[in-house]
Amino acid sequence: MLAELFNPYYLQIGCFILINIILALSVYVPLSTGQLSLASAGFMGLGAYTSALLTIHFDLPILVGIIAGTLIAGLIGILIGLPTLRLQGVYLAIVTLGFGEVIRVVFINWESLTNGSVGISGIPHIGREILKTLKGFGFNPQSMGLQNNQFIFLSIFVLLLIIAIFLVWFFRRQHYSRVGRAYAAIKLDEKAAESMGINITYYKVLAFTQGALLAGFAGSIYAHVLAYISPADFSYHRAVDILVFTVFGGSEVIWGPVFGAIFLTFLPEVLRFISEYRYMIYGLMIIILMAVRPQGLIDVNIINWIKSKKRSKRGVTHGSGSEKSM
């Protein structure tokens, strides 16, 4: 019974949803300072290739590869973030999109290292490594009523779920912290923020770099979940997909990109039965949403509405008490 529930296909979709949530956050964080970055696909590629090459050629543990991939993306993030600070809106979007393409073309042409457009296969798989380690301790997935394959994907899913929850928690806290206030002020009015004593250079580069770190991390994980990467995985299409998660879900509150990533990863899978029409429906939904709700599906008002619903459910006494204090 448990075995049917943990269908590897479902679990894999679950893993992609969680990776996409992290990617959506990588657009959300720079955007919360008003920087529209399309570099996430590029940073993702950097993380993926760094980690894949390190683990294959130097036999490093996956964890080391992922940390290295994340840090390389972050480092390049600082280098790209500093000179592009002066750019705003659509200009920054174009430059970061260009950066992503440069990265992709380097992956294609540096054949001796990256194997060109064929891509890299045989990347160590996180799930299999976990299983191997646990088996070393005498663990057998059959004791849980699971097959090896199911256990592999279940372990990745649980791991990613913990990481994604941590990241959402972290960036939600950051939003209400000093850093988050500075981000919000910069987004609302850069000049006002500056005259208020906020070091806008520092915070803008910080936000951009956080985005790069997130994308690099997601990319490293991606490489070790799929075990195969190629330059096509990190193309312009990926950049736009990631942007759409955030724009569709809404970029005002962190739940927007989270929802966008979940919904838009699910949708094509749910619509699989109408095969070739599904991307038409996908596109149509985005057009309609942008026309009706340009701020995205989830905004501050919806969050407040949900909160007030919760509060009234919790009991009338509590609700009337808080009204008095207003």
Partner: protein
């Protein structure tokens, strides 16, 4: 307190400030007058650090602060209320005020908030409202209150009367006077020359990037030449 010494500032190749020197004494209110495009706002931007002068230096409390960033200058005690108010429209009144105290780490911020709400009761009423929903005069009060939240020694006000009704303008100048009486030095940029000079101790007149006249405020007010050229009407 503030000594500006021969600054030249450019936007690209265009020279906007030509050898500007001025001085603000501790505890005073000083006004810079001038028409549109005279370089008033540029002078303010240069003093607050938003713009770097090519030449010249700026001394604050005896210390050279010429090349400092705006955030560093706020920490030193120079706060700017920018032209056109520039409050954070998407944040509440309370959040705007809290942002003013951004660089402070002491625990008297709540006291200062209370003090602001006492001085500006209308802001207390609108505490939870978004800044952008306030009227022009209220926004200006919020912008001033926000700047004071940083506990400045020198408050720079860039055209606080811009776009406000005459009655509100009178209010704003009254507030400026009150702030000054609590010990904050004020440097003011204005087009509303007569009102500004009335609350000021000293004035400078700026024309196409140069200081063309300066003197005690009441002298400037009674100088027929200045009155005619900059105050728009022959003095009676």
């Amino acid at each position: 307190m503030l000594k500006v010494n021969g600054i030249n500032a450019f936007y690209g190749k265009i020279q906007v400030l030509k050898d500007i020197s001025l001085e603000v004494e501790e505890g005073s209110i000083v006004t810079i007058l001038g028409a549109n495009g005279a370089g008033k706002t540029t002078t303010m931007k240069t003093i607050s650090g938003l713009l770097k002068p090519q030449q010249g230096n700026i001394k604050f409390l005896g210390e050279d602060v010429t090349g400092l960033r705006p955030d560093q200058k706020v920490k030193k005690g120079i706060a700017l209320v920018p032209e056109g108010r520039q409050i954070l429209a998407g944040m509440t009144v309370l959040e705007n005020l809290e942002m003013g105290a951004y660089h402070r780490k002491d625990n008297e911020i709540d006291q200062d908030l209370e003090r602001m709400f006492e001085r500006f009761p209308i802001l207390k009423e609108r505490e939870k409202q978004l800044g952008g929903t306030l009227s022009g005069g209220q926004q200006q009060m919020l912008a001033i209150a926000r700047a004071i939240m940083s506990r400045p020694k020198l408050l720079l006000l860039d055209e606080p009367s811009m776009g406000l009704a005459p009655l509100v303008v009178a209010d704003i100048f009254k507030i400026i006077k009150e702030i000054n009486q609590t010990g904050t030095t004020v440097l003011l940029v204005e087009q509303n020359a007569r009102q500004a000079l009335k609350v000021s101790d000293y004035g400078y007149v700026l024309e196409t990037g140069k200081i063309v006249a300066d003197g005690k405020a009441d002298q400037l007010l009674n100088d027929p030449r200045i009155m005619e050229a900059y105050l728009g009407r022959k003095s009676s």
